[in-house]
């Protein structure tokens, strides 16, 4: 008596109130504190950028759906969230066309080309942000906080962000409290950790996101910071600075929790967070760019399909032990499938019976093959030989030229020395330090490459200093000075006046070199460079470095 009952209403008859639209609205509400702090620190330009960005995203979404004759779901507010996130991840000095460009790329290419909301595999806001990062001059320009920028006509005034200090391995000058409140340079939305955490708590309370991804992300990053920290820094302080600076919090709370581009399964979400943390710290420690959050999340976005498979929940009623055993059984079965086949020689001895040598039947085939391919092979070999020869010749030439140039420079700055080699010493202000040796292998002194600001631009020079702290010679290797005016200070005669000087050289009085008439600025610059080189050699810390040995006697 099982009558098929076709209900017009499917169970359950109750539904929770949070729709997609409400979730998106909640994300926007959670971003309000960060937006407020951004306005407080960077001025009303923040609001203008956000408005431009949101308008652009909604417009492109509407336009694409309209042009492709699809339903228009802009009412679900996902484009607004994309726009707001994109704007808040930009520096406040970005021009207004950046969010438009980023929004167009994020919405059209990243999101709509793959089918719209829920089907994109990369976070559209982050995609747009990383497209904008291809303009590094605009995107690494971090204005100081509390200096409100004008709405129009922004001139680039950059201040170092805490992250650039951390990238160098030193702690930033700001205190942790200021960093927590957001008094630092950076993207608009990411500066205030406090505001971001407020948003995080709101999202958790509203159950819009689960805490799995952010906690796994931040926990992994913190663990790595605690394990790897520069010498002489308290690991806890280092970890706190790493977590609070850059876009880590914003990425973990708002970008890594985007539903469409993160794994569906709880275990997959944990793995996603851990992967993001690993990649972020890898990029921060080993990358050339101080920040790595964006690339880390985008990379993990592309691995979501894999994490979804790995993270499938264990079947109810099947114990983890059984799961593991079945998995091992599967591996054993597939290994057993591998069969070892005894190799068979195709030639055989078939031809012997007809009185021919083994393999003779193949001779004709081989001959024809040789005829076909030999010219090609010869041509290839010839070309390769030619290229290799040319390469060797030119390389030898250029190496010789470089060597002679090097020798010329050495003879100018340190005539006593016959050869020079790189030293492992590093000093602030020195671009390179070379040690000069005589033929007998005796250390003569050091050649320091320094820079100083001349009349128009940077002057690069090499200064030789012997072990007594006296200048043995000065050579200018590059400069932008006005020819025949500034260059008067660079004539060999002018430069030779420095030879034998030591200590701090002044422009007048005792131990001085007079400025060349008409080239005062350039002369001063050269004097400053020589002084710096003298100071570097005087303070050179040869004790802290292991004995240098690379074949020099």
């Amino acid at each position: 008596m099982n009558q098929i009952f076709a209900p017009s209403y499917l169970p359950p008859q109750l539904r929770q109130s949070a729709t997609t639209r409400a979730m998106m609205a909640d994300v926007m509400i959670a971003l309000v504190p960060a937006l407020g702090m951004a306005v407080y620190f960077f001025g009303p330009r923040v609001l203008a950028l956000c408005a431009v960005s949101i308008t652009a995203c909604v417009f492109f979404e509407w336009l694409y759906r309209r042009l492709t004759h699809q339903s228009n779901p802009i009412g679900d507010l996902s484009a607004c969230v994309t726009g707001l996130l994109l704007a808040l991840s930009l520096p406040v000095s970005s021009p207004y066309w950046i969010p438009v460009l980023g929004g167009a790329f994020g919405i059209v290419v990243v999101k709509q080309f793959y089918g719209g909301v829920g089907k994109n595999f990369m976070n559209p806001a982050l995609g747009g942000r990383m497209l904008a990062a291809t303009f590094p001059m605009l995107m690494t320009n971090w204005p100081q906080p509390l200096q409100w920028l004008p709405l129009l006509g922004v001139d680039a005034v950059s201040a170092p962000t805490p992250l650039s200090y951390l990238h160098e391995g030193v702690l930033p000058p700001q205190g942790l409290d200021l960093l927590f409140l957001g008094d630092r340079g950076g993207c608009m939305g990411e500066v205030s950790a406090f505001a971001l955490l407020l948003g995080f708590v709101y999202l958790l309370l509203r159950r819009v996101i689960s805490a799995r991804i952010p906690l796994a992300y931040l926990g992994t990053a913190a663990a790595l910071c605690l394990i790897f920290y520069p010498a002489g820094v308290n690991p806890l302080v280092w970890t706190a600075y790493q977590l609070l600076s850059g876009g880590l919090l914003m990425g973990a709370i708002f970008f890594a929790t985007d539903p469409a581009t993160t794994p569906v399964t709880p275990r997959g979400q944990l793995m996603f967070g851990v992967g993001c943390g690993l990649l972020t710290m890898l990029l921060r420690y080993c990358g050339s760019y101080p920040e790595g959050v964006g690339w880390a999340i985008l990379t993990m976005n592309c691995m979501v399909w894999l994490l979804d498979r790995l993270g499938m929940p264990r079947r109810f009623g099947v114990s983890p032990f059984t799961v593991t055993r079945r998995w091992l059984d599967g591996i054993r079965d597939s290994l057993l499938e591998i069969k070892f086949v005894r190799p068979r020689f195709p030639a055989g001895l078939a031809g012997l019976r007809e009185g021919r040598a083994p393999g003779e039947v193949y001779l004709d085939t081989i001959r024809s093959h040789v005829k076909t391919f030999a010219p090609l092979f010869l041509l290839l070999a010839g070309t390769c030989g030619l290229l290799t020869g040319l390469h060797l010749l030119t390389e030898l030439d250029s190496a010789r030229a470089e060597l002679s140039q090097h020798q010329a420079l050495l003879s100018q700055v340190m005539p006593q020395a016959d050869s020079s080699s790189e030293t492992p010493y590093r000093a602030n202000g020195a671009m390179s330090i070379q040690a000069g040796y005589t033929d007998e292998g005796e250390l003569v002194g050091y050649c320091v490459e320094v820079q100083s600001h001349g009349f128009s631009g940077v002057i690069t020079m090499v200064v030789g200093v012997n072990l007594n702290g006296e200048v043995t010679g000065v050579a200018v290797t590059s400069h932008n000075e006005t020819s025949s005016i500034g260059t008067r200070a660079m004539t060999p005669e002018a430069l030779s006046r420095y030879v034998g000087m030591s200590g701090t050289i002044r422009s007048s009085g005792d131990n001085s070199v007079d400025a060349v008439a008409g080239a005062t600025a350039t002369s001063r610059a050269i004097t400053a460079g020589v002084n710096r080189a003298l100071a570097i050699v005087a303070n050179l810390d040869t004790e802290g470095v292991d004995e240098y040995a690379d074949g020099q006697p």
Partner: protein, 440 residues
């Protein structure tokens, strides 16, 4: 108890309107009752009476015939017909219609009441079968068979008083008002089945009942343990309640006996002890009539077979037009379209929802891959992958998703922000798997 099950959802319980209302008898008694012959998952029972017969309260009117369960007259009066009438499980089913004479004259030939010492397993099973007791939490499984199979094979007896569905308070009131009998019944079952521990599981939203039972346990002693769990749906589902109490998971396709557990509904235990200690058959049960559309929501002590219309009349009728009426709780209940449908042995509530409460689904939304359905599924399934594979007609993928484990609790549909009817998608996927194809 430190165990917990994975997933679940937290719907608003909405039990405030009835949780303080005692179980009341019907005050305009039903004019007539229609007792369906289909009350047990086993099948139809055979009628013992014919139109024109006079029956007394508690008199057997149907017996088992290969399948089915015994049925008893829940009022005294005259049988007017044996005819098809709507059935709460859907469709129609033959039912014995009795016109109530209002005298409630009891059937005299009731079996001898027993004391605890006299009861043996065989006697218990026989009494339960004679009294026509089926699972009263939904589904209507024959209890005598369950007892027979469980005897000697279980170490944990679980009395399910979780009542995790929103709105329903019938079990709550039953536990609060008749806790004494329920504890007696639980101890009886525990002794007959040879279970080493007996656990009564309740949710944290009925602490007054918990307190009263705890008090009685302290005063009188007893072996029944109490386990109060934070309110979460679907705690009352058999597999989830076993996992909560013992930490054991029922294997796929297995029964609770495979993990040495047996679960009885609270109302079932009450009916069992009634049949054993007082010789009464199952003729009445507790029903909650509630929902935003009902004028005076109440808990009622209802004769089996009473029409839903009579229940509503006892609660002052509808305050506003109900958008949906259903029996059995809003999460897993069955929508009813006729008020002539009778109450049967597993009907624990009648909920009349207004449009505002129900939030009818808006179709046309797309999945945003939020993963909430995966995190909410207590059976460790991934409903959104089932939906995806169904849309892509990917049978190979569907067969790897273990969809046969689904208990249709509705958590995925409830939690989905895109309002996709995922329970239905999973059901369609299972049908497709059974058929081996996607043709309609």
């Amino acid at each position: 108890m430190t165990h917990s099950f994975f997933g679940g959802v937290y719907p608003a319980t909405r039990k405030a309107s009835t949780r303080r209302k005692p179980l009341a008898p019907l005050s305009p008694a039903p004019e007539e009752v229609a007792i369906p012959l289909l009350m047990c998952a086993d099948g139809l029972s055979a009628p013992l009476v014919k139109p024109g017969d006079r029956v007394l309260l508690g008199q057997p009117i149907a017996r088992r015939a290969g399948g089915g369960a015994a049925a008893h007259a829940s009022v005294s009066g005259r049988v007017t017909a044996v005819e098809n009438c709507p059935h709460p499980w859907g469709g129609v089913s033959p039912a014995i219609v009795i016109r109530n004479d209002g005298r409630e004259a009891p059937w005299e030939e009731i079996p001898q009441p027993l004391t605890t010492r006299e009861v043996s397993l065989t006697l218990l099973t026989q009494r339960v079968e004679e009294a026509g007791i089926v699972g009263m939490g939904g589904g209507g499984a024959p209890i005598w068979e369950k007892l027979d199979q469980a005897a000697g094979r279980v170490d944990t007896l679980i009395i399910n008083a979780a009542e995790c569905q929103p709105y329903v308070t019938a079990d709550h009131r039953l536990l609060l008002e008749r806790g004494k009998y329920i504890l007696r019944g639980a101890e009886l079952l525990s002794r007959c089945l040879g279970a080493s521990r007996t656990v009564l599981v309740t949710e944290g939203d009925k602490l007054n009942a918990v307190e009263s039972v705890e008090h009685r346990r302290l005063v009188r002693g007893g072996t029944v343990r109490l386990c109060t769990v934070r309110t979460r749906y679907p705690l009352g589902a058999e597999k989830q309640i076993i996992q909560t109490v013992t930490g054991r998971e029922v294997p796929p396709g297995g029964s609770p006996l495979d993990v040495k557990c047996v679960v009885f509904n609270l109302a079932t235990v009450y009916a069992i002890q009634d049949a054993v200690f007082r010789g009464r058959s199952l003729t009445h049960r507790a029903v909650t009539v509630t929902g935003g559309a009902v004028s005076r929501p109440r808990n009622l002590w209802v004769p089996i077979g009473t029409s839903l219309r009579c229940l509503l009349e006892n609660c002052g009728g509808l305050r506003e037009p109900a958008d949906l009426m259903l029996t059995g709780g809003p999460m897993m209940g069955i929508p009813q379209d006729s008020l002539d449908t009778p109450v049967i042995k597993d009907t624990n509530c009648l909920v009349c929802l207004t449009n505002l409460e129900r939030r009818p689904e808006q179709s046309g939304s797309v999945c945003i891959r939020c993963g909430k359905c995966v995190a909410a599924c207590p059976m460790h399934l991934a409903p959104t992958f089932a939906r995806q594979a169904l849309e892509q007609h990917d049978l190979a993928r569907l067969s790897k998703l273990h969809l046969e484990d689904c208990i249709s609790c509705g958590c995925c549909s409830y939690i989905c922000p895109a309002q996709i009817p995922l329970v239905d998608r999973v059901r369609q996927a299972r049908q497709a798997l059974e058929r081996g194809g996607f043709e309609i």
